[in-house]
Amino acid sequence: MRAETKLKPELKKTSPYSRLVRPGELGLILELTVKDKDGRVTDRRTMRGKSFLRQFLELLFIQMSGTYTYGSSYPYHQPVMYVKDINGYLRPVAASIYYHGDIFDADAGVGSTGYGIVAGAGTTPPNIDDYNLESMIGHGSGAGQMGYGAMTFGLPTSDPTTSHFTLTRDFSNSSGVTITVNEVGVRVKANALKYNQNWDTAYFLIIRDVISGGINVPNGQTLTVNYREQAAI
């Protein structure tokens, strides 16, 4: 009940960023902008993103603790932690596996839904144990699909009281009908050990936010999702 209360939307058309992240927080500011094919803004919302998930803290823990595994030639215990991927499987992850770490990689290209900012239709409030969007919107132009653009990033910057950087992605609707986006999140890529201590790529959801009431993206229009990670002093 408490969680539901906390998830009441804080939708503000023109909220100053500084009010959305309180002193002492490293928080998320979620900007949603819908534009028509001529670039005119048809809807814009700014809200306090609330939902760093379990996987975010687990991956940060792995980075800070410096867990490292090299390969089968190491005679001792392989120091890994188990983190749930977007398919619900616990994957053994370390800050570096063989020569590759790549933790927190969100630099997805066009059409890649495995990582980067993702969009969905689910409306269930976030839970810290969420490991995927409730109802992922796929890439494409078919029914219920949106075109995933390439991720872009804004450089870190600061003023006397805050510092921030941004992650941005466009979602274009060419499906022929309006699509309502109710949830957005951030997936990241990392390397995980697999059989015989080889490794492969795994994907983890680190952020999930539900947009109260959803945001409609009419056919032919584009939704730009801007996640701003901001720290305030």
């Binding site: 309180r22 490292y68 990392a190």
Partner: protein, 378 residues
């Protein structure tokens, strides 16, 4: 939201807890966001991002090999932290520069802070209260001497291998005639300013060519850094060729920490002799006190990951043992993280800094435990 609490606990030397306090951390820095940015944007070796390290130098980071290590866990004291930066290449850093830090600074934290304002260093050293001999050269392979008077000056170069305040220099002299006042000064460069100066009456020195040891006690104590070249400059400006000072030397060049220098124009320019039977390195001893003090940095632990919806947290913890012989006051705490670049280099970055209010006084023998508790709440 990611937040953090800071827990400050103080224990006596028997492990009994004397104090426990919890306050909200307010100060994730821009550098922390910079490290997350490099990770999210997946900046590879050819496209590094630069941000200031703890010494204020712009340093590049990338995701090569370890994917932007924000390493905070570290062993205690000066033990090394290692991270791979490329195939079979690694970067190393002293453990005390990674993890939780303490300091005496009181200026409020700002997003662009790149270091503790006044970090208390890791040190097990107790400030010395008596003089200890540092560099010396007492060998005379081939006995010799050098004479100085008027504009003919003489200087000894030496290089201490431990940091200390210079309290006294011993030199061996005799006089010829009545040379008058002798001036001995300390310089960091031959033509630089005197950092400390003492004089004595040269007319009271022995005339025995075997010489006598003279203690030069400096009122101003010059702080010498390890391996920083230092000069002892001698002159008797009122003297002349028949009223001069002779300093006892070794004509061979055995001392590896420096050499002799001479000037014929009152210190305006300098030359030196070198080579066997021509070196004239003077006999000397120097004494001083290492007044370094700090606090002993224990290992920095990262542990205690736990979740109960809607909350999750883990802990970063380090003990600081004050064995300095005196009390110290902790006004600021922070976290240094180790980040690397593919060029086989790595640096420490300040990722959090907080003012401790009120300050915590840690008496000699006491242990301060600082725990950061990063938390998320959905």
């Amino acid at each position: 939201m990611l937040k953090a609490d800071i827990i400050l606990e103080k224990f006596n030397d028997k492990g009994r807890r004397l104090q426990r306090r919890r306050q909200r951390s307010r100060s994730w820095t821009r550098n922390f966001l910079g490290m997350l940015y490099v990770a999210h944007a997946h900046l590879a070796g050819g496209e590094p991002y630069s941000q200031p390290d703890i010494y204020g130098n712009g340093r590049q980071m990338d995701i090569e090999e370890r994917g932007v290590p924000v390493i905070v866990a570290s062993p205690g004291g000066l033990s090394v932290v290692t991270s791979l930066t490329d195939y079979d290449e690694d970067a190393n850093i002293s453990g005390d520069l990674v993890g939780i830090q303490v300091g005496e600074g009181t200026t409020p934290a700002a997003p662009a802070d790149h270091a503790m304002e006044s970090r208390i260093p890791h040190s097990e050293h107790v400030p010395e209260t008596a003089d200890r001999r540092g560099e010396c050269y007492l060998t005379q392979v081939t006995p010799g001497e050098r004479e100085f008077y008027g504009n003919s000056w003489y200087a000894l170069e030496f290089q201490p291998v431990w940091p200390h305040e210079l309290w006294m220099v011993k030199l061996k002299f005799y006089r010829e005639g009545l040379p008058g006042t002798v001036t001995v000064s300390i310089r960091s460069s031959l033509t630089g300013a005197d950092l400390a100066t003492e004089t004595f009456d040269g007319d009271l020195l022995t005339t025995d060519p075997a010489g006598e040891w003279k203690d030069i006690n400096f009122t101003t104590k010059v702080q010498l850094s390890a391996w920083a070249t230092c000069y002892v400059v001698m002159r008797a400006t009122g003297g002349n060729s028949t009223n001069s000072i002779h300093v006892i030397c070794d004509e061979d060049e055995v001392y590896e920490g420096g050499r002799n220098h001479y000037s014929t124009n009152g210190g305006g320019s300098w030359n030196y002799h070198s080579g066997s039977s021509y070196a004239y390195c003077c006999l000397f001893e120097e004494f001083g006190r290492n007044l370094d003090k700090g606090i002993i940095y224990g290992g920095c632990e990262v542990y205690g990951l736990s979740f109960t919806h809607p909350n999750g947290e883990f802990r970063i913890r380090r003990n600081f043992h004050n064995a300095s012989g005196a009390s110290c006051t902790i006004n600021e705490v922070g976290i240094y993280a180790f980040g690397t670049h593919t060029s086989e280099q790595g640096w420490a970055y300040l990722i959090a800094r907080d003012i401790v209010s009120p300050a915590v006084a840690v008496a000699d023998g006491e242990i301060l435990r600082v725990t950061y508790v990063p938390q998320i709440t959905v």
